[in-house]
């Protein structure tokens, strides 16, 4: 029973912590974010496995984690409200070239993040060339350019 409890506890803990931390926390994988991710995985490893190095324990932890993931995806499909709570909603941060400051502040996105995404994804040069920019549920910024007519 213990491996199952451990895996569930870690799953829920990580889900809550990263939901609280916000979409942007590990969305742009900078070198340091990557290191942070490795450290987090290292820190959770001991709590997941404990002192039990058996194959059975590892298998139980893996099956519990993957099973929980599958179970949650089924439940999210069934109850969109749960999906909304766990994954959040996309957020419009630029509307017809006009940055929506309040949304950007709350989501910790600045104009340079949006312009970076606009350059990388669409080859845009200025904010006024953006029709919409959306902070997606996975923390990435998607950019829709104004039509060049």
């Amino acid at each position: 029973m213990e491996p199952v409890v451990r895996a569930l506890a870690i799953y829920v803990l990580l889900m809550i912590v990263f939901r609280i931390a916000g979409k942007r926390t590990l969305a742009q994988i900078t070198t340091f974010d990557f290191i942070l991710l490795l450290i987090v995985s290292e820190a959770t490893q001991n709590a997941l496995i404990g002192n039990n190095y058996s194959l059975t324990n590892a298998a139980l932890v893996i099956v519990t984690l993957v099973g929980t993931e599958i179970g949650l995806s089924v439940l999210k499909e069934k109850w969109p409200r749960l999906d909304k709570w766990i994954e959040g909603l996309p957020l419009v941060i630029v509307d017809h070239g006009r940055p929506i400051k309040e949304h950007m502040e709350r989501a910790r996105v600045d104009e340079s993040d949006i312009l970076t995404a606009a350059r990388e994804l669409q080859g845009l040069e200025r904010m006024d060339q953006i029709k919409y920019a959306v902070l997606e549920r996975n923390g990435a910024i998607s950019v829709i350019p104004k039509s060049r007519t």
Partner: protein, 189 residues
């Protein structure tokens, strides 16, 4: 079997978010087919800020020692002949040290018998006892009795390195030199 009617209801609910019927748009993003729910978003942000405070408080609590050994919770109990140093909050699976200062007040002894209650010891694996006891016996009554030689100045400091085997509240009793000291420890999971 999933209920198709229920699913349709959920989808309709989803559609409501898309169009936000009857609500003035907070942005002019009506051309974008996107789930938006300003009220939910506001609530999520509030909870997020609350969560940040919880995380900050848990770090402060950890530094102070309310989530494990820390600055404020290294405790001492007892006075006179028997004094205990211990951590009030310890972690499951992490070794903790119990230090017991023994100081015979009445008359000098060559050996001191120290008893730890079974109820407490059963929850730990005793990793090491320093100094090495001259004898250990477990009378059927209350606990395990360790016998230690007394130092040249008549005092003795005994250390138990203990590995907690179960989470939860523990009540310990140390008896030595005709004194009994009670203490509590909480093992965090």
């Amino acid at each position: 079997m999933s209920d198709p009617g229920k699913n349709r209801e959920d989808r309709n609910e989803g559609q409501k978010w898309l169009h936000r019927e009857g609500q003035p748009p907070d942005t002019a993003s009506e051309g974008l087919q996107i789930d938006q729910d300003p009220a939910f978003q506001e609530l999520a942000w509030k909870l997020q800020r609350f969560g940040w405070w919880v995380m900050l408080l848990s770090v402060v609590a950890a530094i102070l020692g309310y989530l494990g050994p820390g600055l404020m919770t290294d405790s001492q109990v007892g006075s006179g002949s028997v004094r205990l140093e211990y951590n009030r909050f310890i972690h499951y699976g992490a070794v903790t040290r119990l230090r017991i200062h023994l100081k015979p007040t009445t008359h000098r002894k060559d050996h001191i018998d120290l008893q730890l209650n079974h109820q407490y010891l059963d929850r730990f694996q005793v990793q090491q006892v320093t100094p090495y006891p001259e004898g250990v016996r477990a009378p059927l009554v209350d606990g395990v009795v360790y016998t230690f030689a007394v130092g040249s100045n008549g005092d003795s400091v005994v250390g138990f390195d203990l590995l907690p085997l179960y989470p939860g509240l523990l009540r310990g009793q140390v008896e030595a030199l005709d004194e009994r000291v009670d203490f509590k420890q909480f093992v965090l999971p």
